[in-house]
């Protein structure tokens, strides 16, 4: 770990980050994370199942719905989950208080996790907190009912949080070995979400070559709603750069089908080994910006991990704003009374501050204003049109249901056919 003292320590240490694992799925993810690496981060498990909670290695645990389910869990029933979280609203309210970055981790489509995520996100809208949610979606084979609940919850969550990173289990099955069961897909989900949280923490709490901090993340996410793209990749030894880039592109969190062709803002954070100089970093950034294309703004942060020579970890977060709703007057970036200002250079490197605290970059996408105007000019039903062309291909079209399967979802994913990319 980089131990060079720097003047940003106090500020960063004062950022309050809380990661909450909700329900069985969410709690399991947190159980697998190395929670000691970033001591500033608070990890919590929230569940209705007292036994599962008792087995959780986390120190902070919240048991919900004792009066309703008596510690037995919601049994995957969303309605019960909803009753439980409503009954314990006060307790959940306390969980979103006094926090700067709230990370919710949950599996959607069941009872506790789904309902708790929705309520926590709702409660957090009353606070200043920036909210990120990592969610897994049920397998197609789990049936239409679970999918319906999951889809509805996902749409609801998207409006309420600043960044939503959905991970379909169908996609994770791709990551597993030929003879593995669905259980391994869960393990894969846990691994990737865990890595993602660590990468975020690295950006928030470590300093080095080009610093980015919480304000950069907050500026990137800015408002609630919209679409967040998140990917991580790591490489070590011989072909470490190539491996890291390759893993970044294959990252299941990226969910390629929904990847928009254009992103409003990209935040790129690199943890590099001692062998990587600025020139090499520049090369990696160029390569990524070419592949991820056409963002107006790419902000780069980099820290050094001097334990390794040949090592590269990449964390990419990008945001695409969707047509703001009429009520969206809150803009996280402007909340502190900062004025919007010009972005730092196209790649961020030439102009990026080499000191500890780069200038906050607040950029209100020109795209949004433009789209809004066009939409008003056009009348009725074609509101999303132009925007749609930039997004995942079949997004905004009706679901293409046939025998309860959405035909727009790739067949190989729905049927669990594993595609080997190596």
């Amino acid at each position: 770990m980089e131990n060079v003292p720097h003047n940003g320590t106090e500020l960063e240490a004062s950022i309050r980050v809380r990661v909450i694992g909700l329900g069985g799925g969410g709690s399991n993810v947190l159980a697998g994370i190395d929670r000691d690496r970033y001591p500033h981060v608070e990890y919590l498990a929230v569940n209705t199942d007292s036994q599962a909670l008792a087995h959780s290695p986390l120190t902070h645990k919240v048991l919900l719905g004792q009066n309703i389910t008596r510690g037995l869990g919601a049994g995957g029933d969303f309605e019960i989950g909803r009753q439980v979280v409503e009954a314990d609203r006060a307790e959940l309210e306390a969980l979103v208080a006094e926090v700067d970055l709230l990370i919710l981790v949950t599996g959607l489509g069941g009872g506790t996790g789904t309902a708790a995520a929705l309520l926590l996100a709702e409660l957090a809208t009353q606070t200043e907190a920036t909210v990120l949610a990592f969610t897994t979606q049920p397998f197609t084979f789990e049936g239409a009912r679970r999918r319906e609940i999951s889809d509805a919850a996902l749409a609801d969550l998207r409006e309420k949080v600043h960044g939503l990173i959905p991970v379909p289990n169908d996609l994770l099955l791709q990551e597993t070995e030929e003879d593995d069961t669905a259980l391994s897909a869960f393990a894969v989900a846990d691994k990737w979400i865990g890595k993602g949280i660590h990468s975020l923490c690295a950006m928030l709490f470590e300093t080095g070559i080009i610093n980015q901090d919480f304000s950069a993340l907050r500026n990137l996410l800015q408002r609630r709603g919209g679409k967040t793209i998140f990917a991580i990749g790591a490489g070590k030894d011989e072909d470490f750069v190539k491996d890291a880039l390759s893993q970044l592109c294959d990252c299941p969190l990226l969910h390629a089908t929904e990847r928009p062709s254009r992103m409003d803002r990209i935040l790129l954070h690199l943890v590099v080994g001692s062998e990587m100089g600025l020139a090499k970093i520049q090369e990696v950034v160029t390569s990524i910006s070419e592949q991820f294309d056409s963002s107006k703004e790419i902000i780069v942060g980099a820290v050094m991990d001097s334990r390794f020579a040949k090592s590269l970890e990449i964390c990419l977060i990008a945001k695409v704003e969707i047509e703001p709703t009429a009520t969206t007057s809150d803009n996280a970036g402007l909340r502190n009374g900062r004025e919007p200002m010009e972005t730092i250079g196209s790649l961020g490197l030439e102009n990026a501050n080499m000191e500890a605290n780069p200038k906050p970059v607040v950029h209100v996408s020109k795209l949004i204003g433009k789209k809004k105007k066009e939409a008003n000019e056009d009348q009725d039903e074609f509101l999303f049109v132009d925007l749609e062309a930039q997004r995942g291909y079949f997004e905004q079209t009706d679901q293409n249901l046939y025998n309860n399967e959405d035909l727009d979802v790739p067949t190989f994913l729905r049927r669990g056919i594993k595609i080997k990319l190596k």
């Binding site: 996609l171 791709q174 750069v241 190539k242 880039l245 390759s246 592109c249 294959d250 990252c251 990226l254 390629a256 089908t257 990847r259 062709s261 090369e283 990696v284 390569s287 990524i288 070419e290 592949q291 294309d293 056009d378 074609f382 049109v385 132009d386 749609e388 062309a389 291909y393 079949f394 905004q396 079209t397 293409n400 046939y402 035909l407 727009d408 790739p410 067949t411 190989f412 994913l413 049927r415 056919i417 595609i419 080997k420 990319l421 190596k422």
Partner: protein, 408 residues
Amino acid sequence: MSSPRIVAAVEIGTSKIAVLLGRLDGSTKVDIVGHSLSTSKGVKKGEIRDLRAVSDCVHSALSSAAGKYHIDEVYLALSGRHLEGNFNVGTATVSDAASRVRQIDVNQAIADAKRRELPENRSYIHHIQNPFCLDGKVVDSPLEQQGQRLEVGYWSVHADTPLIRNYLRVIGGYGMEVNDIVISSLASGNILAEEVEKDAGVLVIDIGGGTTDWVLYRGGFVVRTGVVSVGGDHITNDLCAGLRTGQKRAEQIKVEHGRAFHDREDRNEKIWLVGDYTIGDKEFPKSAATQIIEARVTEIFEIVKAEIKKADFYKVDDIASGVILTGGTARLEGLEQVAERVLGLSVRLADFEPGLDAELRRPEYTTVIGVLDYARVDQDRVDQSNDGMGILNGLMNVLGIQRKEASY
């Protein structure tokens, strides 16, 4: 028949807009005097999503096909998952004392078959006649035959009215009216299947960018049509997801390396993902692409098969002429093999009409050639009776569009 007319056949597809300009002089001959094929914008899964973008594309396609000609009439091909159909049987008790079928009985049976009313926002596009039955026996022409009970079946295709309104708006924006609408499957099927094949039973499947349109002929009649809102775009999108690459590159990989079925050897063949051999580029086995495509293509045929089974028409002997494949996706290597395996029928790719201009020998033009042919037949129908125009007139009324009296 008066002076020749210039008819534009237009298909506003998901990936392509095809326009064919034909000169109809009242004979059986159609002179193709103009054509254009352009990239479509604003259409997804066969339905208009962006009126303005679609209008721009269609108007420039019409202009470019028209050249020096003035377009007299526009015929439109229609697809999309909003198309549905129902089969209705109309009956009439033969009224003549001598039990001879008269025209009045025929008319009554037909009226009875067409009587079913549609819910709001649905409009009939076609009433497709199936054979007459007299006392349970199929008869070619019931007139003057002896019997008690006359029956006739109709396969009636209906569509979402607001969506059709959009299509009419697009053409209306060009200052033209739509003379008639033909569903894509019918247009393609009509031109691709020979009469003998239609008699023996044949299934025509047109896999386009956003939809798969099919039509089943039996005993010379169209017994069923259908739309599966899955097409070549889905293959591309699946490749995006599976190979984790962008739409553009996925499309390229599909066209250059795609095959409808997976072969064991594909594991050893490598394809570059980005194709520029730069730092982020890497290789993947061809099997990744072919497995993804095979899953999708198989599913498309499985759905068509299931739909035909559901209608109780899946009898191999009754589809003796097998399957004819067309549409842009028919270019995909190995598509016939997969169709053959899934459908259990013999499969061939559509031939082009002999004598057809080299530039028109593309599956993308098949539907509009069929539409033009429909317009040719339509002119005869108009000459004989007004029945051919009945549906669209009704539709126009529903849409509140004033239609001037056609002058032929």
